[in-house]
Structure formats: structure tokens, C-alpha cells
Point group: C3
Chain length 339, copies 3
């Protein structure tokens, strides 16, 4: 199940260059490149002639020449040359996907191009906001993308999965609240006067109790940003505290494979490269702990023949709300198509 | 096709310890461990909350804490804690499988717990009988479990597959008889005054002709013990002869993958470690010869699109009888469920 | 989709010896060997008894003894011995496939043995013609066999895929013609007064413009020979020119896997081993360029859920005609079977 009328991250801006590169998004193959003028392009990666992978061909100016028989397509997907003939059949074309570049990432709209609306790109401004510094990466995960958004919307798992870095018992002991706003879900947990998790302590020398904020925002289809804060308890003093955004966008490769794009972007100690490295390495290790759990969960779901439903708990409310929003959007989209 | 109301070997007793370990039996995932009091436990390895693999979690006392969100289940499969909430929904539970430990192995009952009957554990007493010494192992086989029981119930294959160890032409030249007793099949071949197979000669220095007994007992779903004897011809003299039980239990992992648990347990030369090693290594090599044949046979069956039936021979009678018993039991079981 | 009433290459003559070897053709497993008299034999590689792979057994004289229980079959597929019993059920037999040896290759007829007609073996005489020398090989390709015949029937791809060896822009710039003759397709391209492709230049020191002939002959199901010539422009002087046949037979292993048997057989510089090596290595490298394209194309076809048809170009006419012939033959064959 995928939402087609949506933006998906296809890569970091610096990954799309003057060469052809293949990407798979929601089961569809794309060939991507940058025009001479610097604009990122995404075309269907199947030559309309014999379905050869265009990404095996050549970038010539702003056009893609198929590496098999030389059919050449421009960045709108229209055929501009067929070797050995003058006439170009109108059906000799590929789909061109709307592309936008924002917040360090290249986004592709997988649905109706007419409906592409850049205001639907999630608000990940802190990836490129002055005064903020981000570090991040992309992890290949053998699990459905919704298992990843579930994960990010219920941070009680930090207590169990991430005790070495960002979890401790204070997380699970503090209730969260959620509210739905249009297509978005907001989840909030404010932990008062509790020990800092290990990574917070290392990054900011926070030895004493802290107040910790987890303010989570879900934007469909699979975008989650977390405004994470930790202050000496009762102070709200950012000078001595920590604030970063955990920014996450999950791109479904197919139903059981995902690309997990992530950054941590912070507003303190911007020049301290050791801190950048500590955060990068610790968060990557943290997310790899998730990956181990999620890939095993994916196997359990795939091999499950029972009809018994999963059993909800209170902490699921945010992830359940997000799933409902996505299901509703997919349902509306498919109803619109069949009309 | 599996019999659910049956005991399957889930491991050697020493393999189940104070840690969580995963097992797959008839397509179902189990998490296994031992309680503080030493009792082996098997639960479904899917957390009822979000189907995470419980085996990735923590053993705390006699309970399993899910490694994802901390849902905690006792050894009866009941939920005893949900982090962040007091109320425990009655459906928050996993299936607990009856477990028994007998004859060095841990057995799990995969069907209706009410029907679990330890008297149905096959009689493998020689695995742990005073005056007997066993050596054995477990082999992963990429073949359906019934191909393994077929193999053990028609030992004419020894002549062709195992000429280096336990086979010679005397086996195939001597007819076998079989009889069905309730759920069991008994197959007997008494070879008189024939050369010993190579391994018998090495183990007991049997250079002259021997009388050789193969007394086979099948107990469903996939248990076969073979009372194997070789005496100097006409003597029945165990002092100069060989007697061992070949004890075999096949656990279906899924329809095309099996765990082959085996022992050879003997009543002679008990202190002779070189003999133990000779038997262990020779029988393992022997069974690996079977594995090569059976894995190729599995491929031939899976890729066969014809409707032509297999053609029986006289020596099949034992394996055919065993298949009929198992099919009948599965049919009865499924009829009982649908009533 | 396969034509069954057809000859497929099962190997080089020298590969079939006095031992059992397995081959898969159009999804069916064969066991092949040579009789004491030297005749190649192909039987279904499934023992009629329990479907063990006969190729794991023993060749005894001209018979195959199953390596599992000793059922023995002659080279007509009839059972000649069942260990432990006198009586042989008439159904204890395997299919014997007609085999012919011609043009260095062993051919197997996969359809009705009554219909086997050696005159349908494609005319690949130059593989073993006096005055000609061939070099070749067999490449495993993870693509449907028809993608390979398409490739060979539209050589415009040489310009794009093989610019290092046999392609240049002259190929794509010169139109081809095709004609259908019965079950065959003939495609012709005569390039006049154009630069030689790199490999021609190296093999025959052709620095000046050449005339180049590509005379292609398709014989179903998947046989393509190419009469390739290059002369100093306007001369037709073979002494200073190049002429070879590119002979190609594609054997479907299954719908997505093929064996690509190929030779280049030439009528010049027969004693020059360096030329033989240059041609062999260059053509193998050339075909591996095709393999990369075709395996990617196979993935694009398998993952394509759209209903949109491929868009033809003028240069497809030969490959389209060949596909139509094969489809018609398959349709006729399946109509004949259902009558």
C-alpha cells in the first residue's frame, strides 16, 4: 500500500550529479540525473522501445540516450531521436516525475504530475537552517516503511532498544499525548526531572537530572521530525542543555524494503567536530538497533498465517493515528482514480 | 502437510538454557528458554502487541520482555506487564506450547495443548539407557521431512548410497517384511551369512560373514528407530558382534526444510572413545550422502509439473505404510477441527 | 512460452562423455551421457520410482542406475532392473529425448519424439566446415531467451553497446531490410564505404574505409547465424578482408535463464592462434556487454506492472518477424496437442 500523490526522498542533493543513477521508489524504477543548468530530473527507467534500463545508457547534454538501441529522451520524457528513422511515434515517451530539491534532499512526486504541490513537502527546515548543523545518512532496511514510522511515533521503544544511547526508563514511565491536525499527527512527551539518557550526558556533560522534551510531528506518507530537548531540570537553559531535531523520511523501495533517510540537526556546539562525530556514530548505532528489531518483525509479519489482530497499547496512539491518516489518503486517492 | 497434534524435537536438552533462542517448527516461530527452576518453555515468537520477535528480547526471571516496547509475558504466555499502563487487555497473550524433555531431547507439542499426551513421545529410550552410549547430531536438510522418513524406512538405499560405510549388496538382495501396528510401522530385514558392510568390519573387526538385523520402527509423525545388529554368522554372539540403535527424529522447519536429529547409541565398547569418534564421523558422512540425494530429489519434486504418479516397488511397502498412517492422522485432525 | 517440437543445444559434443551430466532445458531436467558405442543420450532426470535425480547415479554400460534405490534404465528410458524384485511394472520408465549431434553441438528434441526431424536442426555448417575455423563458448544469462534473439536480429545495438569492438555509427546509419521465408527470417544490412569497427581494424589491419555486410538468418526457436564480411571499400577482396560467421543458439533453461551457445567461425588466417585468441576474447567481451544490458532489461520487464505496450521502431522489423513466427509455431503446437 502506497500513497502515490506524495513526495518521496530519492537521495541527497549531492548524490544526483551529471551522470545517470537508478532509484527504486514504491516499486517503480527511476533514472535520475542533473541537467546542465543544475536541475534534478527523474524519468521512468524503462526505455519505451524495449524496456532496457535507461540508467545503463548515456547522458548527452540534458537528454538520456538508451544504451541499447540509442532511443533518446529529453528531461520531459519526450523522445527526441530514434536512430535510423526520422519519424517519432507519439507513444515513444517515458513518464517524467516532478522533482523538487529542499532541505538537502531531492524529492520525487510519484503520483499525478498535475497534482504535484511543493507545499506538501514536509517541513524539514532545520536540515538547512542558519544556526543549525545537521549530520545524517541513509540506511537500507529490509522492512516495510510503515514499521519505521510506527517506530518513530512510539518512542517508548527507546527504553528497551536504545538503553546504550537515547533510552532510559524515564521515557516509558512518562505518558505521551497525541493530537491529529489535518494530515498531521503530533505526539508529545515531556519528561520532568529525570536522569539524562547516556548520549545526552556525553554530548552535553549533563550529569544531573534533566527535563526532556520529545515533540514529534508526522507528515504523510512517512516523514517524522522530532524536536528533542534536554535541559538541566527546571531551567529551560539551552546554554547548558541540548536541542536537536531528529529528521526522518522513509522511502519505500518496495513493500518489504525501505531507504531510511535521517539527520540529526542541532543548534549548539556547531564548530565542535568531535560532537558531530559522536552524534553521528551514536545515532547510526541507535538506528541499527532499530533495524535489527524491525527486520525480524517484518519476517514475523510475513510468515504469520493467523487472522488474530495485533493488540494495541496506550503508547500506540500516535502511530495508529498516522496509519489511519495514510490509509484514508490512499483510499481517497484510489477512489479518485476509479471515478 | 503437517500433523499438529504431535511432539517434535526442538533441540538437545543442553541447547535450551537461560537465554532466549528461536526455533521454527512446522512453519511456526517459537521462542524457547529454561525457567529458573529448569523447565524448558516454548512460546510463540511473535509479540501480541506488534509481532516483534520475542527471541530478540530479554529473559527476566521466568518472563520474556519484548525487546521492542517491553510487553512482558510469563511462561504460560500471559501478559504480566505493559510499560506505561496498568490495564492489560485479555487478548494480550501468546500461545504457550506444551514442552517435554525426554531421551536427551526437548519435545514441543504443536497442536491443541489439551490433547498433549506424553505417552505419544516416541520410545527412544536407548538414547539415555544405562549400559548404552549415544553419539549424534543435527543436520539441516533442504528437503521435506517425509523424504527423510521414506529414506529411513527403505534401507535398500544403503546398497547404493552408502557402499563406503553401512551398505553392501547383501542389503538389497534380502527381502524385508513390514507390519502395521496401530500408528506404528515395523519393518524387518534379517540378512543371513553375508559379508559385513565396511563400517561394521572396522568397528568390530568383523572379517567373516555375519548375520545382520535391521529392525525398524516408525512412530508418527517422523520418528524412526533402527535396532541394528551384526553377529558372526550363526552365533548371535554380542560379545563379538555389534548392536546399536539408530535413532532419528525429523522436525519440519517448513515444507521444504528439515532438522534431522540423530543418534547412534550402542551397548559395546562404551569406554572406547576412538570407536565413538569412528561411529560419529562415519554415520555423519553417511547421512550427508543421504542429504545430497534428498536435496536433489526435493528439487526434482518441486519442479515437476507432470501429473504422472511415482511408481512403487516392493521395498517401498514400509515407507508407503508410514505415509498412509500420517495422512490418515492429518485427515482425522483436520476433520476434528472443522467440526 | 516455449516451442517443444524443436531442437535445443544441450552442450558441446566434447562435454557429453561416459559419465552422467545434468542439463535443464525449457524447465525440464535431463540426464545426459554417451553410450559405449559413442551415441549421446538424454533421459528425463527423474527416477520414475521416487523422482531422485538420475544424474546423481551411476552409468553402468549403457544404462543408468539410480543412485538412490538402484532402479536401472536403459538408453530408451525403459527399466531393466529393480533391485529386490523380478517384476517390472510397465509404467517404470522415463522419457527418452531424441538426440542428434551436428555442427559440434549436441541437440535435444524436447517435443513429441515421433515428430523429431533432423532436417529442422539449423544450418550451422560453418561450425565444422573444412577451410573454416571456429572458436566459441557458452554464457549463462539471467534473461529470457527471446531477449537474446531480439538482440541478434537488430544489430543497430552494436553502435551503442559495442563501440569498443564491432560497433560504430555506420551500423545505425545504414538501413536494414528483412524478409520472411517460411519459418525463417533473413535480415540484411550492407554498409558501403564506411570506417571499419575497431575489432575489424585490429584483426585485418583495415585502416581505410570498408564495405561491411551483415546477413542474418533466424531459424526457430532461437538460432541466429550472421554472415559478417568486411572488405576494403569497393573491392570484395577477401584476401585483404574479413569474413566470419557468428553462430548463435540460445537454450532456455527456464523462462528467465538461458544458455547462450556461440561461435565465431572464420575462413582466413586459420593458423594464426593470436588472431583466434583476439577474436575469442573480443567477442566474449562484446557478448558480456549484451548480457549486462539484457539482464537489466529482464528485471525491468519482470517488475513492470503497466499495460502499456512497447513501442516499435523500424530496426525491429526482423526481431518482430521472428517473434511472430515463434508465437505462431507455439500456438499451432498447443492447438495440435489439445485436439
Amino acid at each position: 500500500m502506497y500513497l502515490k500523490n506524495a513526495w518521496y526522498v530519492a537521495g541527497w542533493g549531492h548524490e544526483i550529479q551529471r551522470s545517470l543513477t537508478q532509484r527504486w521508489i514504491i516499486g517503480e524504477p527511476l533514472v535520475m540525473y542533473r541537467t546542465e543548468a543544475g536541475k534534478a530530473v527523474a524519468l521512468e527507467d524503462r526505455c519505451p522501445h524495449r524496456r532496457a534500463a535507461l540508467s545503463k545508457g548515456n547522458l548527452i547534454g540534458d537528454t538520456v540516450q538508451c544504451g541499447y538501441h540509442g532511443v533518446t529522451l529529453n528531461c520531459a520524457g519526450a523522445c527526441v531521436a530514434i536512430p535510423g528513422q526520422e519519424q517519432i511515434p507519439p507513444s515513444m515517451k517515458v513518464r517524467a516525475y516532478p522533482v523538487a530539491e529542499k532541505w538537502q534532499w531531492v524529492w520525487v512526486w510519484m503520483g499525478d504530475p498535475e497534482a504535484a504541490d511543493e507545499s506538501l513537502i514536509p517541513d524539514f527546515r532545520y536540515n538547512s537552517e542558519p544556526g543549525w548543523l545537521s549530520t545524517g545518512g541513509c540506511i537500507d532496511v529490509k522492512a516495510n516503511y510503515q514499521l519505521l514510522t510506527d517506530n518513530l511515533l512510539d518512542l517508548t521503544h527507546e527504553t528497551y532498544v536504545h538503553a546504550k544511547t537515547i533510552g532510559n526508563s524515564a521515557v516509558v514511565e512518562t505518558p505521551m499525548t497525541h493530537r491529529v491536525e489535518g494530515r498531521e499527527v503530533h505526539v508529545e512527551r515531556i519528561i520532568k526531572d529525570a536522569p539524562p539518557p547516556p548520549l545526552f550526558a556525553r554530548v552535553r556533560n549533563l550529569d544531573e537530572h534533566i527535563d526532556r522534551w520529545q515533540v514529534i510531528r508526522f507528515q504523510p506518507p512517512a516523514n517524522v521530525s522530532i524536536d528533542a530537548r534536554g535541559y538541566p531540570a527546571g531551567t529551560e537553559d539551552l546554554e547548558k542543555g541540548l536541542r536537536w531535531f531528529s529528521i526522518n523520511s522513509i522511502t519505500p523501495v518496495d513493500e518489504r524494503t525501505s531507504k531510511y533517510y535521517w539527520t540529526i540537526t542541532r543548534c549548539f556546539a556547531l564548530e565542535d567536530e568531535a560532537i558531530t562525530k559522536l552524534i553521528h556514530d551514536s545515532i547510526l548505532a541507535t538506528f541499527m538497533e532499530d533495524v535489527e528489531i524491525l527486520e525480524a518483525q517484518q519476517i514475523m509479519i510475513e510468515t504469520d498465517s493467523r487472522t488474530k489482530a495485533e493488540v494495541g497499547v496506550r503508547a500506540d496512539s500516535g502511530s495508529v493515528a498516522a496509519r489511519r491518516i495514510l490509509e484514508k489518503l490512499v483510499r481517497q486517492e484510489s477512489a479518485a482514480v476509479t471515478q
